[in-house]
């Protein structure tokens, strides 16, 4: 059974595209067949982050308008056989996306893929509501920062009101993904901690992605972080999150940082 996942946040710049690429690649690395769709019409970036920017021929709007077939617009990842990208249009108007058109594309993708991951644009306008419209589950990307948490709260409200699932009276599955987390700063009380964010948003946690320079390096190279450096702390956090998405029980750890924290504590005690 295919599962449609929307990666959303309300606020821009919190890591939706990075997370879409990383989770998509992480799921594909376990053999799942994954399609990632960029819904950010006019400001597409998923192609760039995944290193496929020079291979874009057709896009989502071409497919919605019947100019191209889904199979013509899908770009297969060079590194992973089971990972595919459906890019957004860079030149068209975002109003060219229609609800019925998006419904048809997703319906078709459901036949051939295990996961369809929709990378939502920022905001709460048409692009964002269309990206979440047909989702079975949502990943809400949040930074431990007041404006991001507030916007996530708003998006959670929209997920419970505007998705097809919610309108049918069903519950859309929601997962929090906290990105750019710095456990040291949180410990010192300089940053909202995980408990605070979960307490405020009362949504189950999918993963904690630690702040890391590796994320920028991955986007510079044009590879999802889980492929660029699978041993890095953020990559391990995304791989754990992907396992949880598949129903696995994985203990929640803050990767790469725990040891350092212990070392610090020892040093302080000595």
């Amino acid at each position: 059974m295919a599962k449609v996942l929307v990666v959303t946040s309300g606020k821009g710049g919190v890591g939706k595209t990075t997370s879409t690429a990383a989770l998509g690649a992480a799921l594909a690395q376990t053999g799942q067949k994954v399609a990632v769709i960029d819904f950010d019409v006019g400001l597409r970036n998923l192609d760039l982050v995944m290193g496929a920017e020079r291979r874009v021929v057709f896009d989502l709007i071409n497919v919605v308008q019947g100019v191209a077939k889904v199979s013509q617009a899908l770009i297969r990842d060079k590194r992973l056989e089971t990972l595919w990208l459906l890019p957004a249009s860079q030149t068209r108007d975002k109003d060219a996306l229609t609800e019925s058109g998006v419904a048809d594309v997703i319906k078709e993708l459901r036949n051939t893929f295990d996961w369809i991951i929709c990378d939502s644009p920022a905001g709460i306008e048409r692009g964002a509501t269309l990206a979440m419209r047909f989702a079975d589950a949502a990943v809400i990307v949040t930074n431990p920062e007041v404006s991001s948490v507030r916007d996530s709260d708003r998006i959670i409200g929209l997920l419970d009101a505007k998705t097809e699932k919610a309108e049918k009276g069903e519950q859309i599955e929601k997962h929090m993904l906290i990105t750019r987390y710095d456990p040291q700063r949180a410990k010192r009380g300089e940053m909202l901690n995980i408990e605070d964010v979960l307490d405020i948003l009362s949504t189950p946690l999918l993963g904690i992605i630690p702040e890391s320079q590796e994320v920028l390096r991955a986007s510079n190279i044009g590879a999802p972080i889980t492929l660029c450096n699978a041993a890095s702390a953020p990559a391990r956090a995304y791989l754990d999150a992907a396992r949880r998405l598949r129903g696995g029980v994985v203990p929640m750890t803050i990767h790469g940082e725990r040891k350092r924290l212990l070392v610090k504590l020892f040093r302080r005690a000595a």
Partner: protein, 85 residues
């Protein structure tokens, strides 16, 4: 202010962020859900009433006052009675 600075330096600013968010969101959630609730109520009340008496969307007023311990829902329906013969 100096006292506050001393306090916040010791504690960090995260607790303040959490408290501000909790207050703000509890307000925003009540505003959002209230407007939704009232819209839905109005629609459903009109549908039910229409089965028995002729009322329009404009003849139904719904107000809600939320208090700390007690909230009041007020539904006002105007029904035009035909002139008596």
């Amino acid at each position: 202010m100096t006292l506050f600075n001393l306090f916040s330096r010791r504690q960090g600013s995260a607790p303040l962020a959490r408290d501000r968010l909790q207050i703000l969101l509890s307000h925003e959630r009540s505003v959002c859900s209230k407007s939704d609730l009232i819209g839905v109520l109005r629609e459903e009340v009109v549908t039910v009433l229409c089965k028995h008496v002729p009322v329009g969307q404009d003849n139904v007023t719904i107000r809600m006052d939320r208090g700390a311990t007690l909230s009041m829902l007020e539904i006002e329906v105007l029904i035009h009675t035909p002139p008596a013969r």
